[in-house]
């Protein structure tokens, strides 16, 4: 190799490497680089109790480091003989969106960008056609005359399309009927978001932001622990509450008493009474065969 061609080659190689380094520079801005421990973490269903204890401890440390508050993270399992069902009284709902905000607060949903699990539709009287619904209604006072309100959230389908399409089993249905997501397993392909007929799933398009003083420290692994950038989340019937014998936040907050929640396998539960005695129920998009565990009904 001549001196000249050596100089030329090394100049080209140096320039190339410099250009490559410059292109890779934005990686330095990364604030959430996965640690080896997180990278290697096993799938939820393969974690032994000891593994899980370690993972929960790690999550508690991470949350404390990030938000300055020590949370209590549990891995609550479904209870035997329990299948949760939701009933929503469309006659009573006034469209105040209190459920939306209670849900955001309870489930540590990102405030910026805003993530909300519940979307309340303002429906024209006489029609159940969602294509005619208004999403961004904002009057002085609700309810408005001539409209009724239909909140939509995850319908916890018996035959969930989102579970079927997930390529990595990151989302599945538990025995109590709740479809959950392992936020540490999801690869963020958003196929479930495309598959969901109820637009119930949300994606973390960037790192979620929650003010430190707004963190709800009572957390569960499959429920409301803070999510990371690039994963899916959705309504899980407040798993951290309902598996501990409490009502979901949206049920508790509803000022109109429109929201009813309970165990369908218990014949004396409120939801069993409603499903036995009300004449007509609406399961959204029933024709798709998803068979939601979320029933809408009218009083009159």
């Amino acid at each position: 190799m001549s001196r000249r061609s050596f100089l030329r080659t090394s100049a080209v190689v140096t320039a190339g490497l410099a250009a490559l380094a410059a292109s890779l520079k934005p990686l330095m801005e990364m604030n959430d680089f996965p640690t080896a421990e997180r990278f290697m973490q096993k799938y939820y269903k393969e974690l032994t109790p000891a593994d899980m204890a370690k993972v929960l401890k790690r999550i508690e440390n991470e949350v404390e480091k990030q938000y300055g508050i020590r949370p209590h993270v549990r891995d609550l399992k479904p209870m035997d003989g329990v299948e949760f069902v939701y009933c929503l009284n469309l006659t009573r709902c006034i469209g105040c969106r209190k459920c939306v905000h209670a849900c955001v607060a309870e489930n540590n949903e990102s405030r910026n960008p805003e993530i909300q699990y519940i979307r309340v539709l303002e429906m024209t009287d006489g029609s159940l056609d969602v294509y005619k619904a208004r999403h961004n209604y904002n009057p002085e006072m609700v309810p408005e005359k001539g409209f009724f309100y239909m909140p939509v959230q995850c319908q916890q389908c018996e035959n969930p399309p989102c579970v079927k399409v997930c390529p990595v089993h990151a989302t599945w249905q538990e025995t109590d009927g709740i479809t959950v997501i392992d936020y540490d397993w999801c690869i963020g392909c958003r196929y479930c978001e495309a598959a969901c007929p109820y637009w119930a799933r949300r994606f973390n398009w960037t790192k979620p932001e929650i003010p430190k003083d707004r963190i709800n420290p009572e957390m569960s692994y499959l429920g409301n622990r803070p999510r990371r950038q690039g994963v899916m989340e959705k309504c899980h019937f407040c798993i951290q509450r309902t598996r501990a014998g409490r009502y979901p936040a949206c049920v508790e907050v509803c000022p109109a008493g429109a929201r009813k929640f309970g165990n369908i396998r218990d014949p004396d539960s409120e939801v069993s009474y409603i499903l036995k005695n009300k004449r007509v129920f609406i399961q959204l998009k029933e024709e798709l065969g998803t068979s939601p565990r979320f029933f809408y009904y009218f009083d009159v």
Partner: protein, 579 residues
């Protein structure tokens, strides 16, 4: 074994060196592509650090231009291999030389597909969750897990077929049929499967009426068969142009010098000449002594010096030539350009096709250095070919040439013609079903074609696509598109039209309106667009490198025989100077 590995590494090394060498046009092209790749990489790094918020996607339109490009390219990859059907099933000679280009295009397209899916992931660091056995693979329920299998399988199949055929060609040995023909047939079926699986990705979603239609699968295949061959028509013309050894209209040194062949020194062939042939062509040894004796009087040995012509394109004579010493290049003039179709060294033959068929010479053969050849008349060649071993090697070498004829382009035009017509027909079927019956589920189609409630971002795009496709279809049925100029225009229209129709025109409206009836529009962000350009540039870079390596191998100019000699193009000596 060790020797085989060494040989293979030497082969890869030479391919690598060739990929790094070229004239200024090559450097300019590769440099421009590299710059685009780096810009794309930079944009992707930003997205990786800050999340997919850097794209134009949202919870309403959760897939965008990445998945649109992916869908388009899966089609290209599938169609590129489907071209092998005419070759392997119907023994079509004209397309034979193009098969490798098709398969290499498939490889490049699949690489782009995999990149487009990867950049669309929210957590690319968790890719290992997708690896069967290591992660959790939701097979067969998830169509995406099918896609992982078929795309990677298809990549391996094509890399194996191309790599094996090229390596055999490089070594100048015959490929073992059992080692590639079964894979070719698997690849044909596989090609249909990759595209069908990709269609099912959409078709399987009951909650999206715009996608949940059986016609999407057939439409995907029809549009793929249009865009794939159209891309190949353009690509091989580029190959033809850049591998030309003289620019258009330029006369080659031997042209108009018809007396050249008269200076050839001839003498009768002896048994010693045949023995020296055996050294390079061991199969000749199996020719019976009686046969050798019988044909000997008809054989002649010709001695020529550099630049002298042995046979001339368009002439008719019935001789076949075997090179005894030196090297001969065979070049062909087409559409005013000269290209090397083959290079023959000791033991190799040329001129056998027209010799056996009695047709005019398809190319001109020129001595590249001082050369000695054995001239065999057609009758003698037929007698020789009664020896099975020799027959097999001669037949195999007949196929060893790089002939991109205009007729091959016309066969591809025929494929595009039929596919485009079917594609337009299927589109009409779909539009009729949607709009005639009406109903609620046509909201997406309305948004796409007419606009919905004052939102019409896609309307100009889809009508452009329809105009392009219709124009292309009309041009394709007119004899006008038999001229290469118009054919190229048509191909560009097809590619752009189909990219819009099946990329953006299929993926985006599926999300608009949302399942809850909300209309949120989508425009790709600048960062997202840069990533797309980066991936396209990388794909073109790969394809250019593949062609750069494979063309000289197909021409026989890069082979094991000339290992250790200075590479052409690398040494800086112009190939033309050697002539």
């Amino acid at each position: 074994m060790i020797q085989a590995t060494k040989n293979y590494l030497a082969f890869l090394g030479r391919c690598g060196r060739i990929a790094c060498a070229g004239d200024w046009r090559y450097y300019a092209w590769m440099g421009a592509l590299t710059v685009l790749c780096l810009l794309g990489l930079n944009a992707y790094c930003k997205q990786f650090a800050h999340g997919l918020i850097r794209t134009g996607m949202s919870d309403e339109v959760s897939w965008g231009v990445y998945i649109a490009n992916f869908t388009f390219l899966v089609g290209v990859a599938a169609a590129a291999v489907m071209m092998v059907i005419p070759v392997y099933i119907y023994d079509n000679e004209e397309l034979h030389d193009l098969v490798i280009f098709g398969e290499l295009l498939a490889v490049a397209a699949i690489i782009m597909c995999l990149l487009f899916v990867t950049v669309d992931l929210g957590r690319p660091d968790r890719f290992w969750h997708l690896i069967p056995g290591l992660g959790q693979f939701n097979f067969p329920a998830s169509m995406l897990s099918w896609d992982v299998i078929v795309l990677n399988g298809y990549l391996l199949l094509n890399v194996h077929i191309c790599g094996y055929l090229l390596y055999c060609r490089y070594q100048k040995r015959m490929p073992a049929k059992w080692f590639y023909v079964p894979f070719v047939f698997i690849a044909i079926v596989w090609a249909i499967s990759i595209h069908t699986v990709t269609a099912f990705l959409y078709v399987g979603l009951g909650g999206r009426p715009f996608w949940n239609q059986a016609i999407i699968g057939p439409r995907f295949l029809a549009s793929a068969f249009t865009a794939g061959p159209a891309l190949i028509i353009l690509a091989i013309q580029v190959v033809r142009r850049v591998t030309a050894i003289a620019s258009k209209g330029e006369a080659m040194p031997w042209q108009g010098n018809s007396s050249a062949s008269k200076t050839v020194r001839q003498r009768a062939a002896t048994l010693d000449d045949l023995d020296s042939l055996v050294r390079y062509l061991p199969e000749f040894a199996s020719v019976a002594k009686e046969t050798r004796q019988a044909i000997l009087p008809d054989l002649r040995v010709l001695e020529v010096s550099t630049g002298e012509v042995l046979l001339r394109q368009g002439e008719t004579d019935k001789h076949t030539f075997f090179v005894l010493k030196g090297r001969v290049v065979v070049e062909r003039e087409e559409s005013g350009r000269h290209r090397i179709t083959r290079s023959a060294g000791p033991g190799e033959q040329f001129g056998e096709v027209s010799s056996l068929a009695g047709t005019p010479r398809m190319a001109t053969a020129v001595a590249e250095e001082a050369t000695q050849v054995l001239r065999v008349p057609a009758d003698a060649l037929r007698k020789l070919m009664k020896t099975p071993q020799l027959n097999r090697i001669i037949r195999a070498r007949m196929a060893e040439r790089l002939m991109i004829t205009d007729r091959a382009l016309m066969i591809l035009r025929g494929i595009v013609q039929v596919a485009m017509t079917i594609n337009v027909f299927l589109l009409v079927c779909e539009v009729f079903t949607e709009f005639y019956a009406g109903g609620l589920h046509i909201a997406s189609s309305k948004y796409l074609y007419l606009g919905l409630q004052g939102h019409h971002a896609l309307v100009p795009w889809i009508w452009t696509a329809i105009a392009f496709n219709l124009t292309a279809m009309i041009l394709l049925v007119l004899p006008l598109s038999r001229s290469l100029k118009w054919l190229n225009v048509t191909c560009v229209l097809c590619i752009v039209g189909i990219w819009i129709e099946k990329g953006m025109g299929l993926v985006i409206p599926g999300f608009i309106p949302s399942p809850l009836g909300e209309i949120v529009e989508y425009t790709p962000s600048l960062n997202e667009t840069l990533v797309c350009f980066g991936i396209w540039a990388f794909g073109l870079l790969c394809y250019t490198v593949f062609l750069r390596m494979s063309v000289p191998i197909l021409q026989g100019r890069l082979s094991k025989a000339n290992e250790g000699q200075p590479e052409f193009g690398v040494s800086g000596v112009s190939e033309r100077a050697a002539l």
